[in-house]
Symmetry: C2
Amino acid sequence: MTQLEARRERVYDRMAQEGVALVMFEDAEGRRDPAVRWLTGHPGDALLFLSVDKQSVLVPWDINMAKVYADADFVISYAEFCRQSVQAILGAAEFLKIPYGSRVEIPMDTSYRMFLQYVELVTDYDILCRSGGVHETVRELRTIKDEEEIGIYRQASKITNEIIDLLEDKIRSEELRTETDVALFIEAEARGKGCEGTGFETLAAGPGRSFGIHAFPAYTGAAFTGPGLAILDFGLKFQGYTTDVTLTFAQGPLTKHQEKLLSLTERAYKLAFSLVADGTGTREVAAAVDALFGKSGKAMPHALGHGIGLEAHEAPFLRNQPGNIRQFQTGMIFTLEPGLYDPIHGGCRLENDILLSGDGAEALTQARIIRL
Amino acid sequence: MTQLEARRERVYDRMAQEGVALVMFEDAEGRRDPAVRWLTGHPGDALLFLSVDKQSVLVPWDINMAKVYADADFVISYAEFCRQSVQAILGAAEFLKIPYGSRVEIPMDTSYRMFLQYVELVTDYDILCRSGGVHETVRELRTIKDEEEIGIYRQASKITNEIIDLLEDKIRSEELRTETDVALFIEAEARGKGCEGTGFETLAAGPGRSFGIHAFPAYTGAAFTGPGLAILDFGLKFQGYTTDVTLTFAQGPLTKHQEKLLSLTERAYKLAFSLVADGTGTREVAAAVDALFGKSGKAMPHALGHGIGLEAHEAPFLRNQPGNIRQFQTGMIFTLEPGLYDPIHGGCRLENDILLSGDGAEALTQARIIRL
């Protein structure tokens, strides 16, 4: 059984438990769901139908792309259904011989308007659109990476680390000077090294604007280096999976306040890393970092980290919030990214990708605070 | 009255006609709506509330960004509402003194699950979530560009055309050789010339893969030039607005079939351009191009073009489909992009951005088929 088949098998099991005869996943503009790629390998727009009797039908926008990438029992072009999802549901249900009256589950984020259409037009089935169903199960399954995914992350991290080292060299030697220089160097190296590209828009904020968490635009023609603190947040997309790291470049002479931001951030990162363990609450670790910063009268304006995978941000979310009862589990891959931001002295963030395995926490990436 | 105020005024008028007391727009990850930027200038994640008594409340994720960019009567940080849209609706309704029992319209693409939450928790108001309401009105208004938008497009097109000329030079001189060279040259030039970046991921497909409409990945380290046909589809994002052009590079010796693809595409482009006029059906023009290709036994596997603006694809959509009754109107800016694709001989597409003004159709951009 291939890894993709093994993943589908777990969904079939869940469908049987839930009495769901047919489930539809949708990966399209404005309605992205990495479940389609996770379950079939197909990297583009498509609908995916799984039936409880263990058959899969992929309905891709681009049939040629599916021929190259997709693993599914059947592939039927979306054009066959006049590019209408209602027709695709009806067609897939007929093709897979789903008995009338069965439960058919549609994506949990389906719009209210589309939901009304499905209910109106798919009259022979019981349409489900809910939290806690099959789609949420898949999202949960995706938080624990399997061997294949961990292997991909080891390769992706190796490339990320090579680029981090190149960045340090080329920024030190002033070969890369502007935010754009830095961002496009990453983009070019990533593609050259076999990545699909970057996992999200690179954020390169020179000393003049590193105080903001959301630099806009993400990078400009302005200088990336110069006295003070510069932040570089980037990720590579490799076989669909995104790394996510943040480096801070500190060019002296630094103020005492800037030195404090750097040392607190490094201490927070080490503290968080030391606390990560199977069964520990994610909120507990995030709260420990908040407490460390709080002792110095500082506050971090964002979460401590988040899961990574086929999405750049996915569960677990490492938040110090009352409702967060999520625990760290073996097989999770996530970021730790403490940071502090000051409107006058600038910002500082340190972010690495962590794999929690049976041997404990392991930093896959080697982002760091670099003193120029 | 500023242009932004004038736009809001048109929405207030529509709200009064429809008896809607409060409307919420949402621009957030997975739920993008350029209406927020169109109505306030704010380029980042935010909720926007407009009341029928002509008051606007922007609720941004990043309050500092709003201070720089946003034009609204009131700005309240999303954190004030614990980053919960339900709380933001309740808070905005109270702040704006919306009478209980009034109609409050939420985004038409709200998910079924969120809709249920709104209805359950916002009990003092009549929640509307519908087609044909205020959100669709704004989408319609956005199809006709105002003077400010046309001015922005003239600047964006000028930069696009400069980059087209540079690309021709640097590809001819072989300074740019790979798909990645070409794509990153565009990215760097765009940022250097004051753009926010590119409007969508640049598609650079060398002769080996230009036959596909959706190249994956969008660009690679492979050669962009070489004997045959290469396609380059890119757009610049300038003050939020996206241009969208496609060039074809043809390097000889070409087969007769390749020559035919090029000449048919050029003829189709000229034909379409000649037919565009205020009041003409968009379907009619798309059908004329399909007929031209059909006479040579060819078929175009995509639409003739689409509107551009704060979104890279927006109304009008120039499709030869039964339901398409949309007419061209003065003030529209849209692409014309006929293309033909052959699995053996490669692909060819020619795409420019057209402004329909009182003087007729005008090509703002100067993309072309370039013979190397």
